[in-house]
Amino acid sequence: MPGTETPLTTEVFDQLRQAMAADKAGFTELYREYLADAWHTLDQLREAAPHRVEEVRQRAHYLRSSSLVLGAHTVARLAGLLEEQARTSVSTDNDALDRIAEALREVQDELAERLGKGVIPADKTAA
């Protein structure tokens, strides 16, 4: 992989946009749902970390799954690392959650630039 990892994989975003060309509002809504769900999952991860490792593992896997499908590669990679840490350790690293939050915010900024502010979930617009 090249060293310049972008928050959002352009190929995935463009192909998905092309596939949903007839439903532009639905395309924005899909990414808004992704962001809302990802932030919610991150909150759940913060509640479960660092010791409820099985819950952390499941939530991290869940976050990785949607991030992969929608091209949020960095979030997916960081969630995968957390998932692996939860699988093999008795506690997880809280810094990992901060890194995921940072990556998710970058994805959100990128999406806002590409799709407009409307893609940002309502409770995140002031953040």
Binding site: T9, E11, V12, Q15, L16, Q18, A19, M20, A21, D23, G26, F27, L30, E33, Y34, D37, H61, Y62, R64, S65, S66, L68, V69, L70, G71, H73, A76, G80
Partner: protein, 224 residues
């Protein structure tokens, strides 16, 4: 010309993933999504009632996990062809899925690029792995089997009896316990230990136990 759509069921516990996949597939006029399942139980139910041509199956789902659902699909002689969706390539998991009857494996981050082609290939009787149709499944299975075979345990020159002694030491057995277990004298146990310490370069029982754990010197328990 009248063509029949390929009827697809999507099984993934994540609603955003299901919506994403459904929208990807809607762009393909040859494919029609006829159902969506949130877990393995629903996936099996939809496969039995809707008889889709293809089931897109996430392996990590609640209730009945994807692999278990695949096992039941195969046991139930359902005609549906299953394509496994996964976040990363775990060769052991891929091998197991193929052995259980999966016809293709698609990485989630490549779904938008490969899913339609994979579904078409599978409907033409082909298998799909690593982003392309597979020409020689037997060779793939052979390679995967070789790659996932456990590596032989390194013994560091220890004899079979010395390995048995190491196993008992890590369980916390005393020399007396070990002597009793093998029906040998404590002197013989001490001799074994001296040999073991020399071969492994350790100085005491604690170091030996740590060495054994760190170097996988202990026999793997059955069923794990």
């Amino acid at each position: 010309m009248v063509t029949t759509s390929i009827r697809v069921v999507i099984a993934d516990d994540h609603p955003v993933v299901r919506v994403g996949l459904r929208n990807m597939l809607q762009a393909d006029p040859a494919v029609r999504v006829v159902g969506e399942a949130r877990d393995g139980v629903e996936a099996l139910e939809l496969a039995r009632t809707l008889h889709p041509d293809v089931l897109l199956l996430d392996l990590a789902m609640p209730n009945v996990a994807g692999m278990e659902a695949l096992r039941e699909m195969t046991a139930g002689n359902l005609d549906t062809r299953t394509i496994v969706l996964t976040g990363l390539i775990d060769k052991r998991q891929v091998l197991e899925a193929l052995q259980l009857g999966a016809r293709g494996v698609v990485l989630k981050d490549a779904a938008v690029e490969h899913l339609s082609a994979c579904i078409r290939a599978v409907m033409q009787g082909q298998y799909w792995l690593e982003g392309r149709p597979v020409q020689n499944l037997v060779q793939v299975l052979r390679d995967l089997t070789a790659q996932t075979a456990p590596t032989p345990r390194k013994t560091f020159g220890l004899t079979a009896r010395e390995l048995e002694v190491v196993a008992l030491i890590t369980e916390g057995c005393t020399n007396k316990d070990i002597a009793k277990t093998f029906g040998i004298s404590e002197e013989t146990v001490k001799r074994h230990l001296t040999n073991i310490f020399n071969k492994l370069g350790v100085g005491n029982r604690l170091e030996l136990a740590l060495f054994a754990l760190n170097h996988s010197l202990l026999p793997v328990a059955e069923g794990h």
